[in-house]
Symmetry: C2
């Protein structure tokens, strides 16, 4: 039976109110190329992504599921992870979610700022009257840390994105994430090295580091390591 | 000579750091339909929009200019407004722009919160270590209020989006905006009444109120009022 691959791509958006949200930028281009690489090899692929992300063309062995925010992503992965053999988690997941937005003067006059951490906006569209506003944000759950709980047998490829980091730092941060999340591989990449036709990345496991220079090379590298791993 | 029409569509994004931003949601669908309606009537159209917005197909009388944030929109409109006869400003423009993001404990321990309004993040990607963070935001310039300064002869159609408002409230807010921004018409619409194939809206001027129920009806209505106005 064909191996079942789960891929996440694109970036989540956490709503501030009904008209505004905080988005982690990601076109979904890398996830699309990884999906296409594995589909061409005969894998069944489930792609969890966002409405605006680029996607492979419709085809028999591809299932696409769309999400907006971290809560939805969490619910879908909890359901899908036990049904798959492999997860490539390339999505740019929001690390903070809005709690409460209020004008600056109210915050400056408050005795205890803690109150704002449990407040919530009742209005559908937050007023834009004040010159300054303050947005309180809460850390989102680290989804990658739940994957092996949901399916101890799934093979997990996680991602770490840094900005203007050295190669040593990228690899060291990748190894930390590898251990903390019980991942099998971590792809470490740097925003400064991602351009239209360039995508420098390291594929890191406990012992080795492989490097790629384009999204196609990275997809092929992940494929080869996964297959060799069998 | 053909009338020259400037349209804005989509929603701007204000960067928090290199990987995150605050986006005003808008698909650009209404601006696309307005552009197509006027192109079919022989107008020259300049469409100022975002990368992810839907757009009309490439064609001789259509020029597309892409922007990301309010600063870029301001610069392009300052340049384009004097060259056009008519502006239909349907873009969802960010009303606040991030100033500074910092962990909650630092804010709670500070003597004067004012300091944070003039601070700025030096790091390319803001740390996601803290459980709670605080984002300080500053009001963006109201671009619509500059249009008639840049070109007193341009005809201006502005937009007001409310959420769960009564018809009376929509029309009253539209009239306020009409006077304050010296607009010729304001389209007032309510997010609760905008669905895939429904777009309830009022086209309001000093004396009259016309209503439409779809994006196509609204585009046709704007066209007819503009032409009758000549």
């Amino acid at each position: 039976m064909a191996m079942k691959l789960l891929i996440t791509s694109g970036g989540t958006t956490e709503a501030i109110d009904t008209v505004r949200g905080i988005t982690n930028h990601s076109t979904g281009q890398l996830g699309k190329i990884i999906a296409e690489t594995f589909l061409a090899k005969g894998f069944d692929v489930t792609l969890v992504t966002t409405k605006t992300s680029v996607k492979p063309v419709k085809q028999p062995h591809l299932t696409i599921r769309e999400v907006i925010n971290v809560d939805q992503l969490m619910a879908i992965l909890k359901e899908e992870v036990p049904k798959h053999d492999l997860l490539i988690h390339s999505m740019a997941v929001s690390d903070y979610s809005p709690v409460y937005m209020i004008d600056f003067d109210t915050v400056a006059a408050a005795d205890h700022l803690q109150t704002f951490l449990t407040a919530s906006n009742k209005e559908a569209k937050i007023s834009s009257a004040a010159d300054y506003q303050v947005l309180f944000l809460k850390k989102t759950p680290k989804i990658i840390s739940y994957i092996k709980e949901w399916n101890p047998n799934i093979r997990l490829v996680g991602f770490k994105l840094l900005v203007n980091a050295s190669d040593e730092e990228l690899i060291s941060v990748a190894r930390d994430s590898l251990h903390k999340n019980k991942a099998d591989y971590i792809v470490a990449n740097d925003l400064a090295d991602i351009k239209a036709n360039q995508h420098k990345a390291f594929l890191v496991d406990d012992k080795t580091v492989c490097s790629a220079n384009t999204k196609e090379e990275l997809a092929q590298l992940i494929y080869e390591r996964i297959i060799a791993h069998d």
